[in-house]
């Protein structure tokens, strides 16, 4: 494939890099980033510039339902805002911090912990006991201990099955067949 490794940081386009993003909690709907190019405090915005350049695609790939915006040259101090579903919002101050310090603070405040992600992935799987045309086992005849398949031919004639039902012992602990005959 020609032309796919162009750009400053072509590692951003690999799937292995995109899968290592931070997952946000369920209540978050909007996330915005504010920074700017000012002459007086140029170096204090250097940490957030790297986050926007290298980590923004990771956030959007792991949370496809969240609106992520980047707003430039609004206020002289850089910060993040998060808007929640019940109308609340809060800010994270970012001035003078490293790239790694910013990401670790976001994971602590509003990131999902590892145990919750594993619980939800296990609960979303299908029940392995199901059988049918969509699952692994097509018919109940494949389970050990059941009658063979009646789709092929007549396995057990129906009239003989009715006579067998008379000799069924419903409660073997209370009524033992041999003991009753001896008493009477």
């Amino acid at each position: 494939m020609k032309g796919l490794m162009s750009g400053k940081h072509p590692i951003i386009k690999t799937k292995q890099y995109l899968d290592q993003g931070i997952v946000l909690r369920d209540g978050v709907k909007i996330m915005t980033m504010h920074y700017g190019n000012y002459e007086s405090n140029y170096e204090s915005h250097s940490g957030i510039r790297k986050v926007v350049e290298l980590n923004l695609s990771q956030f959007q790939h792991k949370n496809p339902d969240v609106q992520i915006l980047v707003i430039k040259d609004l206020t002289p101090s850089p910060f993040f805002t998060f808007f929640l579903e019940n109308g609340e919002r809060f800010y994270i101050d970012v001035e003078g911090k490293n790239q790694v310090e910013i990401l670790s603070q976001i994971q602590k405040v509003i990131g999902k912990p590892k145990e919750l992600i594993e619980k939800e992935s296990i609960a979303a799987e299908a029940n392995p006991a199901n059988f049918g045309p969509e699952f692994n086992r097509k018919c109940i005849c494949e389970v050990q201990g059941q009658l063979p398949c009646s789709f092929v031919d007549d396995v057990w004639p129906i009239l003989e099955r009715k006579e067998l039902k008379k000799n069924i012992n419903l409660n073997p602990k209370k009524y033992v067949f041999g003991m009753e005959d001896e008493d009477t």
């Binding site: 796919l4 951003i12 386009k13 690999t14 799937k15 995109l18 709907k29 909007i30 915005t32 000012y38 007086s40 923004l56 695609s57 959007q60 790939h61 496809p64 609106q67 992520i68 915006l69 609004l74 206020t75 002289p76 101090s77 910060f79 805002t81 808007f83 579903e85 109308g87 800010y91 101050d93």
Partner: protein, 103 residues
């Protein structure tokens, strides 16, 4: 343009562009779309008509929207909940001071 994804958003943040009628504002909303061949995100913008219950929004404000159950006047699908940044007097949320244009 695929407008179904924008109309199904429950909350959105946008900028006011025009105000022709009373109690109605045009808002521009931006989303990122994924290109599966290049593995990159590209921004897309779309205008939404929104309902303004109190006629306070001006051109250039940044505004928070919320979805309505039924559209009002057949066209307005979202309503303006609150104004986040007012045009002309921007307040820095961390320090509480007003911002000059050059700084």
């Amino acid at each position: 343009m695929d407008k179904s994804r924008f109309l199904s958003m429950s909350m959105a943040l946008g900028k006011v562009v025009a105000k022709d009628f009373t109690n109605r504002a045009k808002v521009v909303v931006q989303l990122n779309r994924f290109n599966p061949y290049m593995n990159l995100f590209f921004p897309e913008a779309e205008t939404l008509e929104s309902h303004d219950p109190s006629d306070k929004a001006k051109v250039g404000d940044i505004v928070l929207l919320r979805k309505l159950d039924k559209p009002i006047r057949h066209v307005e699908t979202h309503k303006i909940e609150s104004i986040v940044y007012c045009a002309g007097s921007i307040v820095d949320p961390l320090t509480g001071l007003r911002v000059e244009r050059d700084k």
